[in-house]
């Protein structure tokens, strides 16, 4: 727990530098805060008035997360190298877990704050459908955590701020846009939906997830924007007998696949993996 609460590095990243930027350029920061705040309230008011579907709310939230999350992590280690402060830091009595938590914890805390700010949009859109709302929340935070974690690791590995930022944004373009486009081109423009319709039990879902790794559908299934798109099918949880049909089969397929939760957990798993790489890197490279 010491690594978390009594960590000067975490305190510096979360409070130290930020506090003084406000003091030194108050007009700039107040103007930026006011502008962002107004835009936020406007978006919130629109959400209240028009009650967009959970897919639209999650799309919007993910778009914000894709833009903002890299900025929360991209320079945490690279600035230490660029400004030549890492040696002084490495020689202190801070342990590898403390240094890791100081950086990764700061990035994750920022992502958590952003997720909380975006949460009202998800809750407003998903009223009455706790499954979809919670799944959307997990997907949003998971994706943010993955970006932040990857950002911290790349920042450590690449040692250059600009390179890290470029890699993070370019990587997203590839994963979220180009790879799915390639899949669609090769798959003659059809989304891999049939696979979901065939799932009628948790066992089926388990095998479907394994199959999609090999047939390439995973590229589509783990795309958070596609996750959001399918989330709309889960708006109505009721499965009355008169509703049974193709749509019911498809919805239950999504349900058995734990749609949203599985992807969210996968993102968090990958985030943990990159966090592990970073921790190991600090331990070895900094001889901690």
């Amino acid at each position: 727990m010491r690594a978390l609460w009594e960590n000067p590095l975490l305190q510096y990243h979360l409070l130290g530098a930020t506090r003084h930027r406000w003091k030194r350029q108050p007009w700039l920061y107040w103007a930026a805060t006011l502008g962002t705040g107004l835009m936020y309230l406007l978006a919130l008011q629109t959400a209240v008035n028009y009650r967009p579907g959970i897919d639209a709310a999650l799309w919007f939230s993910l778009f914000v997360m894709c833009l903002a999350a890299p900025l929360m992590a991209y320079n945490l280690f690279s600035l230490e190298y660029e400004k030549q402060t890492w040696e002084s830091l490495a020689l202190t009595r801070l342990t590898a877990p403390e240094i890791f938590w100081g950086k990764w914890g700061a990035a994750l805390a920022r992502v958590a704050v952003l997720t909380l700010l975006l949460a009202p949009f998800l809750f407003l859109s998903g009223v009455g459908n706790w499954y979809a709302t919670t799944a959307a929340f997990v997907v949003l935070f998971g994706w943010g955590a993955l970006l932040a974690s990857l950002g911290v690791w790349l920042s450590f590995k690449l040692k250059r701020t600009l390179t890290t930022a470029s890699a993070l944004y370019a990587g997203q373009v590839f994963v979220l846009l180009l790879f799915p486009m390639l899949y669609l081109i090769l798959g003659e423009g059809t989304l891999p939906r049939e696979l979901i319709s065939t799932v009628q039990s948790y066992k089926d879902a388990y095998y479907t997830w394994i199959i999609c790794v090999f047939n390439g559908a995973l590229i589509i299934y783990i795309n958070p924007f596609y996750v959001a798109l399918e989330m709309e099918h889960m708006r109505w949880w009721a499965d009355w007998w008169w509703m049974r049909g193709d749509e019911y089969t498809y919805r239950s397929g999504l349900r058995y696949m734990l749609w949203g939760f599985t992807q969210g957990v996968l993102y968090l798993g990958l985030a943990a993996l990159f966090a592990g790489f970073t921790y190991r890197g600090v331990k070895i490279s900094w001889r901690k």
Partner: protein, 308 residues
């Protein structure tokens, strides 16, 4: 005590540091001299536990720096040649950050920071933002940061580089003071006059090899196998030159700028005998002195101007 035992660093085929040995005691201010690329920074980084040596080791107060870097780190303060500071915080906050990182109890931090600020003459700047300090003050702040945990060994890599003359003098004074406080100070530089003033020991490194190390005076004596005597004579020099050339310890005589420069291989006894004999022979000698070597002469005699 710092005991360096055969420290070696290889990068593939390149040997950056070649089996270095030396020992330093509390209060020693050790000038680590060498041209750029000689291996000074690599040696310092190995001593600072930032680089793992290929072979050899060093102990600080008996603790092995290779096997127990975590135990050695609290005992050393390191100031790199190129350094940066965390921006957006004040001088006091910067030092508080490092005090916390060195696990100094909260109750003691304020007093320690005050002392360190006083020692480095930064008290007036304690509320200034780090990035607003001049280069010299940032250098002193970096040194202050290296002192908050009261280390016994200070590794200062080119501490005066890029400083104006006043800041150089101030940093020299500070290093002298740290030596007087009983700390082992290892300070590297390639500017000799910088070190000549305040180091009691020096080591000259070239191409990764420590060519010589020890007390400054001892090294000079070692190198003065053939000393140069300057004789200023009233009257014609020719008879004196002929007289000197008959002396067995004299290897050569040059006349320039109104003086004679005698390359003399004897010791102090022979030197005194020679002076007495010349006066006895009726030469009117106005000045007779040994031309002493300084650190620059030592450096030029030992090194060949090669880098590893």
């Amino acid at each position: 005590m710092l005991d360096v035992q055969g420290l070696r660093k290889e990068y593939g085929e390149l040997v950056a540091v070649r089996d270095i040995y030396f020992q330093l005691h509390p209060g020693d201010v050790f000038g680590f001299i060498g041209p750029n690329g000689a291996g000074k920074t690599t040696t310092i980084k190995m001593l600072a536990t930032l680089l793992e040596p290929t072979a050899g080791t060093a102990t600080l107060n008996g603790i092995d720096i290779v096997r127990h870097p975590e135990e050695v780190r609290p005992l050393l303060g390191y100031m790199p040649d190129f350094f940066g500071l965390y921006e957006g915080i004040t001088v006091t906050e910067y030092l508080e950050f490092f005090a916390a990182a060195y696990r100094i109890p909260k109750s003691q931090r304020a007093a320690i920071i005050e002392n360190v600020l006083e020692l480095t003459d930064l008290t007036v700047k304690k509320d200034a933002y780090v990035e607003t300090l001049s280069r010299g003050m940032q250098q002193r702040l970096c040194l202050a940061k290296s002192l908050v945990h009261d280390p016994i060994l200070l590794l200062l890599d080119e501490p005066a580089s890029g400083l104006d003359p006043r800041a150089r003098i101030e940093i020299k004074e500070l290093i002298r003071e740290l030596g007087a406080m009983g700390k082992i100070v290892l300070v590297s530089s390639h500017i000799l006059p910088e070190l000549a003033d305040f180091c009691n020991k020096i080591g000259i490194i070239e191409k990764g090899e420590l060519l010589v190390w020890g007390a400054v005076d001892e090294i000079i004596v070692q190198l003065q196998a053939s000393r140069v005597l300057e004789i200023r004579l009233l009257g014609e020099p020719e008879p004196l030159i002929q007289r000197l050339e008959r002396e067995s310890h004299v290897h050569g005589v040059e006349a320039r700028d109104g003086s004679l420069y005698v390359h003399f291989a004897g010791g102090l006894e022979e030197q005194a005998d020679l002076l007495a004999a010349l006066i006895r022979d009726g030469f009117r000698i106005a000045a007779f002195r040994e031309e002493s070597l300084d650190l620059e002469d030592v450096f030029m005699q030992i090194t060949r101007g090669e880098v590893s």
